[in-house]
């Protein structure tokens, strides 16, 4: 029995899978933002009761958490101390010196206070060169004084980040020992552990971020384990990483920076599964209230990015390559005074005060209001729990229309089109910008607002089929159930291919593989479920960005020449950027990814048969192609496998609504997905 738990802003979603019977149970309880573990424990109790099992029967609890992300976004992390090499105390203060464009962009730039302040930073006399040579020995006496001073000043965690420590971590380790001996209560992160890669600012900020969220994360994990134990849950708790992998709760406590994108990871993993089952490459399209997350799935695999941003801060950790744009159901539409141009987002009405039609006090027109005005959102949501103020929405949108000289309908349509264009920009970044043609992909819609907009996005980009899964609202929890154990082991190794012996690479790979296997042992992954993935980050000498080239395990085992890898690189570079150069290739880093497979979730096939006409709830007007059309509204729960619906139509379900555009049809496939295709012309 595996249990997936997804804590959202409003609800905690749980999904329980019984491998023996293939049954899946679903539960929803209100989230408890003041202490998320209360809601989680309540949800666990509830779902076990629903499934008629004892909490002791759970084998695994898989949990995606936004605790780390929220701590950074809300500025509520721990007070972190920072030890740097003397002379580089201002590393976070100076950051990358970057200011935004265009010219004079800095006039409106807001620069946040660094996650470790200058008052909590101390320089340590020592210096290591780029090749790992010690130039100035560590002055342990001065270091001890600085450590005593800093560790008694009220800091809650300590980051040690010295120059070139990726090439020689010795000084960082010595400092850690001094801290452990004298101030054992202070948790310490070494930059050479968290991110053994060059570029001092990236390495330092990532490690500091780890410490910034660490005390909060540790406390949270302790509480949740306590509560689960109190409920007689005996299984291990596993946390979902930003790259979609799983790790033990203990590891999550040591390296919480690896969970900054834990939340959206579930949806991406689910998209991977849908992609594998349906055989389509897919774009994941997760549209929520304030933002939309998109990512790309090729050959049934997600793309992994080496860096991400959390609020204003960069974090160099492996993450599923999810792009986020500030357009969602709550995004506010406004007309800019001087140019009279229509803007949608990034300002959002959020959950409070929310869109006008939610009647929670919102007065500014939003994307949801536009959907309500056009008849796409039904007047009653969540199976009767909430009714929409459509007149109020109309009035708010009319304000926009007046300024633009447009009717209410055309203004509403315009708001949706602008929002779609913003989201399109994000989809383009992850496809065309990488040489991928969006027309080779389908699009998977989830999140509260995803199914409202996905068909329009598909039409704009030409990406079909547009897939709406059976439960777009709990797709993340489902993704957690399907996650694999995963961890990356990286070694920076900057060296020209001109003077690299193959053994230099193979020996380093062997080292990393040993560490990877030890980790899999720790996670208790069975031998048969293990897999190691090898890759080399390469670039042309002195280029600024690396291309990751996967190395065939047979090649690693054979320990032969490196040329096949370089050939692969030239080909990839040409495919991605349209050029190849005749300058030497350079190695930047080696990477071994340890993967531990988990059992797939068997999906029950919904029953077939029945006339779709029986699923019609009502027929009401909706605005398509510049006119009001009487549009059938279907109950999704009554659409069986094989059912075919003609657009235009609105398909309603408990927590989501699908808009099916004119000249499109939706068919329920064997997995219960709505598959939307354009009609043959």
């Amino acid at each position: 029995m595996r249990l997936g738990v997804d804590v959202g802003g409003t609800f905690t979603d749980l999904l329980l899978h019984d491998e023996a019977t293939g049954r899946v149970w679903q539960a929803k309880t209100p989230s408890t933002p003041q202490d998320q573990s209360i809601g989680v424990a309540e949800g666990v109790r509830l779902i076990c009761e629903k499934a008629g099992i004892s909490t002791a029967d759970l084998d695994m609890v898989l949990h995606g958490t936004t605790v780390a992300t929220n701590a950074v976004l809300e500025g509520k992390g721990a007070r972190v101390g920072l030890l740097t090499t003397k002379g580089f105390e201002y590393v976070l203060h100076l950051a990358k010196s970057w200011t935004p464009g265009p010219l004079f962009g800095w006039i409106v730039m807001d620069k946040p206070t660094p996650l470790a302040t200058l008052s909590d930073t101390r320089g340590i006399p020592e210096r290591v060169a780029a090749d790992g040579r010690v130039i100035d020995a560590l002055d342990t006496e001065a270091a001890t004084r600085a450590i005593d001073d800093l560790c008694t000043s009220g800091i809650e965690a300590l980051t040690i980040s010295l120059m070139h420590s990726y090439a020689n971590p010795d000084h960082e380790r010595q400092l850690r020992e001094i801290v452990a001996a004298r101030h054992p209560h202070i948790p310490v992160s070494l930059s050479s552990d968290i991110l053994p890669e060059f570029r001092e600012y990236d390495r330092t900020i990532t490690t500091v971020m780890n410490d910034y969220v660490r005390p909060i994360m540790t406390r949270y994990l302790d509480r949740i384990e306590e509560r689960l134990a109190a409920n007689d849950v005996r299984s291990h708790l596993h946390i979902v990483r930003s790259d979609g992998g799983l790790m033990s709760a203990k590891m999550a406590g040591d390296r919480p920076v690896h969970t900054v994108l834990s939340g959206p990871a579930g949806g991406v993993t689910s998209t991977v599964m849908v992609s594998q089952r349906t055989g389509h490459d897919l774009l994941a399209f997760d549209m929520g209230g304030t933002s939309t997350d998109v990512s790309v799935i090729i050959d049934g695999k997600p793309t992994i990015s080496r860096s991400t941003e959390v609020g204003a801060f960069p974090a160099k950790v492996p993450t599923l390559d999810v792009r986020s744009v500030g357009a969602g159901g709550g995004s506010i539409a406004e007309v800019v005074d001087l140019t009279r141009s229509l803007r949608v987002g990034p300002r959002s009405a959020g959950a409070q005060p929310g869109p006008v039609c939610y009647s929670r006090g919102g007065t500014e027109p939003t994307v949801s209001d536009a959907n309500a005005v056009l008849g796409y959102l039904p007047p009653v949501l969540l199976s009767g729990a909430m009714s929409l103020d459509i007149d109020g929405a109309r009035k708010a949108i009319a304000g926009i229309g007046d300024k633009l000289g447009l009717s209410v309908e055309d203004a509403a349509k315009g708001i949706l089109q602008i929002a779609n264009e913003v989201m399109l920009g994000a989809l383009r970044v992850i496809t065309v910008q990488r040489g991928l043609d969006p027309r080779d992909f389908g699009i998977l819609a989830f999140g509260g607002a995803g199914p409202l907009h996905a068909n329009a996005m598909a039409e704009l980009l030409g990406c079909y089929p547009c897939v709406v899964p059976p439960n777009p609202g709990v797709l993340s929890a489902l993704g957690f159930l399907e996650s694999e154990f995963k961890n990356e082991f990286v070694q920076t190794f900057i060296r020209s291919s001109r003077n690299t012996e193959p053994s230099m690479i193979w020996d380093r790979f062997a080292d990393l593989a040993t560490r990877a296997r030890a980790w899999l042992d720790e996670q208790q992954v069975a031998e048969g479920d293990r897999r190691l993935i090898y890759s080399l980050d390469l670039r042309y000498e002195q280029q600024g960005y690396e291309v990751s080239v996967e190395v065939d395990p047979d090649l690693v085992a054979g320990q032969g020449a490196l040329e096949p890898i370089f050939d692969q690189f030239h080909g990839l570079h040409e495919r991605m950027y349209g050029v190849r150069f005749h300058v030497p290739v350079e190695m930047v880093a080696l990477r071994v990814i340890a993967v531990g497979a988990t059992a797939p979730v068997d999906v029950q096939t919904p029953a077939g048969g029945g006339d779709p006409a029986a699923a019609i709830i009502e027929t009401r007007p909706a605005y398509f192609d510049g006119a009001w059309i009487d549009t059938p509204n279907y109950d999704r729960a009554k659409l069986a496998v094989g059912a075919k619906v003609q657009g235009p139509a609105i398909i309603r379900q408990y927590d989501s609504t699908t808009v099916l555009l004119p000249r499109h049809t939706a068919t329920v496939d064997q997995f219960g997905n709505l598959m939307i295709w354009p009609e043959e012309v």
Binding site: K86, G87, F88, E89, Y90, H93, L94, A95, K96, S97, W98, T99, P100, G101, P102, L103, F104, W106, I107, V108, M109, D110, L118, S119, A129, A130, I135, M163, F198, R199, E200, Y201, V336, L338, T339, R340, S341, L342, L404, G405, K413, G414, Q417, I418, E421, V422, G425, R428, V429, V432, Q433, I494, Q542, Q543, G544, M576, Y577, V579, F581, V583
Partner: protein
């Protein structure tokens, strides 16, 4: 032709996305640290007349388009770098500019263009920016606008000539190809828009986007520029040959609906390479971007407003030099151009004004031959104080120029024989103010191989001014501490090919920036914080801010209040500007 407002906004968004896509493509392919790590490259998308529809500041290409008349074909890519042969559309030889016409279904629908800074284009010194050049002949190869691709076919000859004249041919080749790839990306996106909406609609939308910006600019001009001229003067330290300081003078006024920017009164062109040969169109672009960012950043920035501006650049002056005046080190002048603008416009709208920054783009260049006999050429751009501004404090050691970023020290040490001993903001270098000016930086380089060092900087003599009561900021300084020596020696801010030996240290200090608003009104707690962070000294906290700190660093409230009252009583209202420099009569 009518374009509905929604389509117009969609096209605007799509073009903005395309412009950022161009950046990304360039950064991923380029090899030189200047383009790759520091983002010294500027993309834009233009209409068929060559007018910029989106971009930050591109080069001004209508002058080049004009030159080729109708002879522009699908698959052509143009390249040039000679400022004199393109009427100042770019302003020194290091900037290689690429321009590509965009066709859709055989119809010419626009141009994409990018220029980027090449590490070396030949000439008398590595880096091609000799601080002592007297003519442009010393500043490297000059390529007039020519086709590098003609109807999709690469013109090998042109490429070979260009690369053969550089000390860093591999880098230049990759960087140039990166610029071309970026232009092609824009070409594809514009093509897709034409496909989606029809090229008539696309072109009409381009016109409307410009019109929309023009209308907005009209409002801004009415609001902030009066018929009464406002004037401002600022200075470039020197021209690298011992002449200077050089005065720049700007008057701004409105005549009818036109804003006039008049540089009459600016000094004659310099003997050294600080002349800024600038196209009038580019001038308008610079004025426009400032006004948009200062007065309403939500306006899309394009060339639509050009006919509302009139620019006067006296012939033979620093801003309109005669061929063959040397140009390579024009960034000081370029920045002072903006400083004059900020100083003049700030007088009419103090609440939207800003102080002066570090005032150039400081360069550190270190060349030589390493132990393995390989030539190396490190060129690094440094940063300084970003000015105090209405929104808050200036930024310490940040980029005044948009989208630039610092090269990681670990990167530099991996590839070049230098070791950085320390890197920090300079204490008391940010001008005092309600919003403190950003501090300059101090970077100490230790060279590990024999070689040559060149430096370009400014604001060593004339400090960055403060505004609205804010005080002027710290000046730049350069020192060398020879290996084994105990005393450091001062070196000029503009110097070429200074011979260095292993163990020598160069102490590179950039200027800070001016403060904004009355420092006596600054929250004393913020002053105490700056003192704790070693950004402001106790002495200056008292002298400039009227803040007295107790032994433990906390604010001595009563003493501070008393001191501030005393100072205000004596001083009265602060002066609108604080210069820290008086020109010789």
């Amino acid at each position: 032709m009518q374009v509905d407002p929604i389509t117009l906004d969609i096209i605007e968004n799509a073009l903005k996305n395309a412009r950022f896509e161009m950046d990304n493509v360039v950064l991923r392919i380029a090899l030189s640290p200047a383009v790759r790590e520091q983002h010294d490259e500027f993309p834009m998308i233009c209409n068929p007349a060559g007018q910029m529809i989106v971009g930050q500041f591109g080069s001004y290409i209508p002058a080049v388009v004009e030159k080729f008349g109708g002879d522009i074909n699908e698959g052509d890519v143009f390249v040039w770098n000679d400022p004199y042969a393109c009427k100042g559309s770019i302003s020194h030889n290091n900037d290689w500019c690429v321009m590509m016409p965009i066709f859709h279904g055989g119809i010419h629908v626009g141009f994409s263009s990018i220029f980027g800074h090449m590490t070396d284009v030949g000439g008398s010194v590595p880096g091609s920016m000799p601080a002592n050049a007297r003519t442009i002949w010393e500043e490297g190869l000059r390529v007039p606008p020519v086709r590098i691709y003609s109807k999709h076919v690469l013109n090998d000859g042109v490429l070979e000539i260009m690369l053969n004249n550089s000390r860093t041919p591999d880098m230049n080749r990759a960087d140039l190809m990166a610029l071309i790839a970026g232009c092609r990306t824009a070409g594809k996106r514009v093509g897709e828009l034409c496909e989606r909406f029809g090229h008539e609609t696309y072109l009409a939308a381009c016109d409307l986007l410009m019109l929309r910006t023009r209308d907005a600019m009209k409002v801004i001009i009415d609001q902030y520029i009066s018929e009464d001229p406002v004037e401002f003067e600022d200075y470039v330290d020197d021209d690298g040959l011992g002449n200077g300081p050089f005065k720049m003078k700007l008057s701004i006024y409105r005549r009818g609906e036109k804003a006039v920017f008049d540089f009459t009164g600016t000094d004659d062109q310099a003997e050294g390479p600080i002349n800024f040969h600038i196209h009038e169109g580019l001038c308008k672009l610079f004025f426009g971007v400032y006004m948009i960012m200062a007065f309403d950043p939500s306006i899309n920035f394009n060339e639509g407003f050009y006919d509302l501006f009139e620019v006067v650049l006296p012939e033979g002056s620093l801003l309109n030099p005669k061929f063959p005046a040397a140009l390579s080190n024009r960034l000081n002048t370029h920045t002072r151009f903006f400083d004059c603008q900020a100083g003049a416009l700030g007088q009419r709208a103090p609440h939207l004004s800003m102080a002066a920054g570090y005032g150039t783009s400081p360069h550190f260049i270190f060349t030589g031959t390493d132990g393995e006999g390989r030539y190396f050429q490190l060129m690094e751009l440094l940063f300084g104080g970003v000015p105090g501004r209405p929104r808050g404090d200036g930024l310490d050691g940040h980029a005044w120029w948009p989208l630039f970023s610092a090269t990681p020290i670990e990167y530099i040490e991996n590839y070049y024989p230098v070791l950085v001993d320390s890197y920090r903001p300079v204490r008391d270098s940010g001008g005092a103010g309600l919003h403190r000016g950003g501090a300059g930086i101090e970077k100490v380089y230790r060279v590990m191989e024999p070689g040559m060092v060149s430096i370009h900087d400014d604001r060593e003599i004339v400090p960055p001014w403060g505004i609205n009561g804010g005080l002027f900021g710290g000046t730049s300084e350069k020192w060398i501490l020879r290996a084994g020596a105990s005393e450091r020696e001062r070196i000029p801010s503009k110097i070429d090919n200074l011979a260095v030996q292993p163990g020598d240290r160069i102490i590179f200090i950039t200027a800070g920036s001016g403060g904004w608003g009355d420092p006596l009104a600054r929250d004393p707690a913020l002053v105490a914080r700056d003192v704790a962070h070693d950004l402001v000294s106790r002495h200056r906290a008292e002298q400039d801010y009227g803040v007295i700190l107790a032994e433990d660093g906390s604010v001595a409230q009563a003493e501070t209040t008393a001191l501030r009252e005393r100072v205000i009583g004596k001083r009265g209202q602060p002066e609108p500007f604080s210069f820290g420099f008086a020109p010789a009569a």
